[in-house]
Symmetry: C2
Subunit: 320 residues, 2 copies
């Protein structure tokens, strides 16, 4: 039996192998994704982001339990583009996810890149598609919300939870990080700690300032103590509430359409870059132009324009 056949029969080892194949962008991975695209059943993607130490992993465990109560199959993708200097604390933390029974209904995959951030969002999206095609109902994408890469990752999700804790500082920091704009549900975790009220108030005010369309989803601020399983039922209802709202009001489809547009953009860009590398390496004419630039007789900006006009031609718009 081929790995693909095993995948289609629900073999999680085959799933893991195919994920690695796609993650490593091995020869033919796009063709494979194209074939599996037909198997996609519309898994819901839920993103969970926030600063280190906010208790995201514990919260994710709580959510898995709720989904399992409803009989849903859940996959978790933990994206951790952390510096090698900060150590592996985040991943160690996630070992708790192994607490769930090994019945194939909860699957965990870590995507720790450690240095190679390029294309991480695209990779995560590909992996989420595989998990969807494999048959998971829910794909939870957990990431440390600290940079553009992580925002891109989380942007592929249908519902986004931003988790903050009183000690993580104020709501202003979250705004600066661009987290307020992407939040569908705000979570104040460890809400028994001092400062929780202030944080919730600040978040409420900051969300108010965002002045969304009055028909838009109103971002709820949920208080939880994930470690004690407090506030999880209400959070779960808020997550489902957003999902229902988005589907009923067309936001869900609109967002997915934009994701497809971005995916096309990335596929085209990636292929262009590959051809560009070929073109810029070893061709005699290019070497001559580089030598001209090095000697100061020409400049890269001018040469770039010239090469572009000759190398790339728009086909569509010129002829429409």
């Amino acid at each position: 039996m081929t790995v693909l056949e095993k995948f289609r029969q629900g073999d999680t080892r085959a799933l893991s192998r195919i994920i690695s194949f796609v993650e490593n962008r091995e020869e033919g991975y796009r063709k494979l994704l194209g074939r599996l695209y037909a198997d996609i059943g519309g898994a819901l993607r839920i993103g969970v982001t926030g600063p280190p130490g906010a208790g995201k992993s514990t919260l994710v465990s709580c959510l898995i339990r709720k989904f399992r109560e409803e009989g849903k199959r859940v996959a978790v993708v933990a994206v951790d583009p952390t510096s090698p200097f900060s150590g592996g604390a985040l991943l160690g933390d996630r070992v708790r996810l192994q607490d769930f029974p090994d019945d194939g209904n909860v699957f965990f995959r870590s995507m720790a890149t450690r240095g190679a951030s390029g294309g991480l969002a695209a990779s995560t999206d590909n992996v989420a598609l595989l998990l969807d095609a494999f048959g998971f109902d829910i794909v939870l994408i957990e990431t440390v919300g600290v940079g553009q890469v992580e925002l891109d990752v989380i942007d592929t999700c249908d519902t986004v939870l931003v988790v903050l804790v009183p000690e993580s500082g104020d709501a202003v920091q979250a705004m600066k990080a661009g987290l307020m704009e992407i939040a569908d549900v705000m979570v104040v975790n460890k809400s028994d700690r001092p400062g929780a009220d202030n944080l919730a108030d600040d978040l409420k005010y900051a969300l108010h300032l965002q002045k969304r369309d009055e028909n838009a989803w109103e971002v709820p601020i949920m208080r939880t103590q994930a470690a004690n399983n407090i506030g999880i039922d209400e959070l779960f209802e808020a997550v489902n509430g957003h999902s229902r709202f988005a589907k009923e009001n067309g936001y869900f489809d609109a967002h997915r359409k934009e994701q497809i547009r971005k995916k096309l953009f990335n596929i085209l860009r990636h292929r262009f870059q590959r051809e560009l590398i070929e073109t810029l390496s070893g061709r005699e004419e290019v070497e001559r132009l580089i030598a001209e630039i090095l000697s100061g007789r020409n400049n890269p900006y001018q040469v770039g324009e010239d090469l572009y006009d000759r190398f790339v031609r728009k086909n569509g718009t010129d002829r429409d």
Copy 2:
């Protein structure tokens, strides 16, 4: 007088304005860079990287003093793509650079991106070109060495110093981060602290494992206590030594050529992306394709291939 004329007369305020113009990629910034390219006088670019807390800023101050003793004009570009959650400690640390006399011979520019990491390396390179064209002899590029973005930034430098401290952990971490491969000079700073000998030994062993060409530069491991100005003369000599070696052996020109190739790559890619965004937005045909993908009748990988073949055509190789 125009800003450009003031720039050419050595007005640092004009320099700052033009840097912002280029950093923000305002309309016409490439044309301006193309014009200023002729003014480039071959400033040496020295990169200083390492984990937070390694004492890079102090070390940079020491190096500035040495270069000033030789009458060299020095510009510092501090690149700090730090998370908003980690606060502004790094930048605060750099205020010390203001200690130098305000005579236009030492210039400091911070490039804190806080979220928008895309194109940071290209921006840093553009700013370094401006500083070169303005008349600085040395451009010091300081960055926290934690991810691919920072490695790309530092890659534009002619000589790269990697700064570690005993407490920053072992040499293995630095290897994982890709720092060993880019180092031309290794610095063990705070070398009076426990563990300095071990760190130096580990680095020596790790560098040995890299097995470079026997004609290649042998990366020296320098011990410093920057806060007490200890070991700085020796470090300065090592930096100059690498620079001489690279120029005499052709490595300097070879590296600059590769940088120009990368720059051309980035210019072409950037322009392609701009056109791609236009093409993928609002065209009826594209909307139809996206709807097909959303409904499951097609997949993005196939559509991507089709769009590429129609949208982009190689001009050069097909006709050569």
